[in-house]
């Protein structure tokens, strides 16, 4: 039992709970927000399907296999493998079997296992219950929970295999490729998926037995694998696998010291899990932007379009910028003890924010011009606003963040290093340019609004040297001791 009490202690004694009351309230509110969001999605979907009548259940069932494939794929990349948590216990007189069981139970405390229940249960109660009876509802819920358990174990198994040998990444990639190919070649998983749904709801023993059999097989394989590989070097295996990043030294040598720091920063961004995952937001949002501008038939309001475009454009740079000093928190003692050029260091970070924004801007401009849903001038003005006030104020705010970051941790639902004020400011950074645009457009016209946004951006960019030297580097130096003390705290 003490293993579970240790999980609980590590959770409640986490440094993040010692932060301000505001941050704690915000974390709770965020958690509630996601729960309510999924509950609403579950209820709305169920209400919609219930209205459809007759084949409502069948419509829901046909997505089961797609969901499971997507869920498995995402788990492989984002689900935390709790193997590191049992490493300290290896030296004690605890049977390995017990540790593996603990690890299996620990892996079930995952957001991926909880969120689908918020859709599954309302659907089962509101749609299946009234039309097919309690037994069918119970059968279906049980079947789906077993499928979620299976996916959880397969995600864990794949995660362990990829740590042992990177060749196993072929499994999730293969699953995604098979689903994409099957769909692209005119095939569909809808029918087998519907059949699975009905089989589970009707309580047919064969699918239940197959799923349970697969769960048992997955558990036995994980046991076998961990008995063989659960050693302290399992934690380090993935490091070695990833030691193949490109060298960036000299890449920006024309920019002198600033270029040197840019190379260093780029190495940090691309060679560490947390920063690399954060940077993955840029292509992720671009894919979303392509869907939004080119494939969505319904045109949302202008306010929403500009809001979401500002997000597409700036969220990557903002996510990088709000932790701009914390990224190197583990190395800051060394940086500050050595001879350094702090202004060039800060400037390098600003230039990289600019680069990330420009990388998002170019494809976005192509998508926006093809769709014709938004003025290119407005997009350019938003980009300038992002490069000016948003990036610089974001960096200024980052100087107040003294939380340490573990560069090897994943990103999903990982708020390490984040403060409540930063969530609010990220939201404001997206909202402010939209607000300025809408207000000026109301009192004047669209062109004036675009010119005002662009001008504000240009003014800030023109005075960026002052911002970087006096405001950002100045504030950082003023808070240096407090920041360094925060960066040394391992459990932040």
């Amino acid at each position: 039992m003490y293993l579970y009490s240790h999980i609980w202690k590590s959770f409640i004694r986490n440094e993040r709970w010692r932060r301000s009351l505001f941050a704690r309230i915000l974390f709770i509110l965020l958690g509630l927000y996601f729960v309510i969001l999924f509950l609403m999605l579950g209820f709305n979907l169920s209400t919609f399907l219930a209205r459809e009548g007759g084949e409502a259940a069948g419509k829901f069932f046909m997505w089961i296999l797609y969901y499971l494939a997507a869920d498995y794929f995402i788990r492989c990349f984002l689900q935390q493998i709790p193997s590191l948590e049992v490493i300290p216990y290896l030296r004690f007189r605890i049977r390995r079997k017990k540790l593996v069981n603990h690890l299996l139970v620990r892996s079930s405390y995952s957001i991926f296992n909880i969120l689908p229940l918020f859709i599954l249960i309302p659907f089962s109660v509101m749609v299946l219950g009234p039309s097919k009876g309690a037994a069918t509802t119970l059968n279906f819920i049980t079947g789906c929970i077993l499928l979620i358990m299976l996916n959880n174990l397969l995600g864990l198994l794949t995660g362990l295999l990829t740590r042992i040998n990177s060749v196993y990444w072929a499994i999730p990639v293969g699953v995604a490729a098979v689903v994409a190919l099957a769909t692209g070649l005119g095939g569909s998983l809808n029918e087998p998926s519907r059949a699975l749904g009905y089989a589970l709801a009707e309580g047919r023993p064969v699918p239940f037995l197959v799923v349970v059999g697969m769960i048992v097989a997955a558990i036995r394989t994980i046991h076998w694998l961990l008995h063989r590989y659960l050693r302290v070097d399992l934690a380090g295996t993935h490091y070695r696998l990833r030691s193949k990043g490109a060298s960036f030294s000299g890449r920006f040598s024309r920019l002198g010291d600033t270029g040197r720091y840019m190379s260093l920063e780029l190495s940090m961004l691309l060679r560490n899990k947390r920063s690399r995952n954060t940077m993955l937001m840029v292509p992720f949002f671009l894919v979303y932007a392509v869907i939004f501008f080119l494939f969505m038939d319904e045109t949302p309001g202008e306010f929403f379009t500009i809001f979401i475009t500002t997000m597409f454009l700036g969220l990557g740079a903002m996510s990088y910028g709000q932790l701009i000093f914390s990224w190197e928190s583990a190395f800051f003692d060394g940086i500050m003890a050595r001879k350094n050029d702090l202004i060039a260091y800060v400037r390098a970070k600003y230039y990289l924010q600019v680069l990330v924004t420009l990388i998002a801007f170019v494809p976005l401009a192509v998508v926006v011009s093809i769709s014709g849903r938004m003025s290119l001038f407005l997009l350019a003005a938003l980009m300038l606003f992002n490069l000016g006030p948003n990036s610089l104020l974001n960096m200024l705010l980052a100087t107040l963040n003294d939380a340490r970051i573990d560069l090897d941790a994943g990103t999903f639902m990982n708020y390490q290093g984040m403060k409540g004020s930063q969530f609010v400011m990220t939201f404001l950074f997206v909202l402010i340019p939209v607000g300025i645009y809408v207000l000026i457009k109301l009192v004047a016209n669209e062109n004036t609004a675009i010119i005002c946004l662009a001008s504000l951006g240009i003014i800030f960019i023109a005075f960026s040297n002052w911002w970087l030297k006096k405001a950002i580097a100045g504030t950082f130096m003023h808070r240096k001791y407090k920041s360094l003390e925060g960066y040394r705290k391992l459990s932040a």
Partner: protein
Amino acid sequence: MIKVTNIIKTYNKKTVLNISNLTVNDGEIFGLVGNNGAGKTTLLRLLLDLIRAEKGEVSSGDHVVARTEEWKEYTASYLDEGFLIDYLTPEEFFGFIAEEYRINKEEFNRRLAEFSDFFNGEVLGQSRKYIRDFSKGNKQKIGIASALITEPAVLILDEPFNSLDPTSQILLKKMLTDYNRRTGATMIISSHDLNHVTDICTRIAIIEKGIIIRDLQNNGQAMAELASYFSVRQ
């Protein structure tokens, strides 16, 4: 010359360092010994302006370390793994430091070659192996070399012999004494190992609960005095 004057450092209202006056003269190899939690690392961090004292100041030459950064031009240090940049290869890390200190390529290569025995063929040329993938001992070697490669006039090392194999410990002692003899550099070295400290230091201070309680010239009697002090405590 490094001078610590009326320094008081507290954590959560508890005084962890209280030094009224400590001067380390130019060219000295100053050893700092003390039990766990005695305040050695806190003192070294204060010397490097990484923490702020509630009272007092540290000066290096003519510079008060908390007020200017000029002292960084001639000071190098290695306290812990936080002084490495672990997502770089050793070559990239040394190269970064060489550029920071404006050491030209030829000179850099010459200085790096001096560490070949110390590295024992396990640090350089490891085909894109990042620092984080090295053993603790090799990380320690990289950290110490990254400080020495700048050829500083002031060198500050915290527990430099930790994690090193016996051969490397002997080599390091030789490297440090040779460097001191060649350049006249001032060195401040903390250690738990009384033998190492007495082997290389010209002066040794015992720190206990944040206070310097003995300040000894290493004239042959120091080892006996240290041994007697620490054995009494057992």
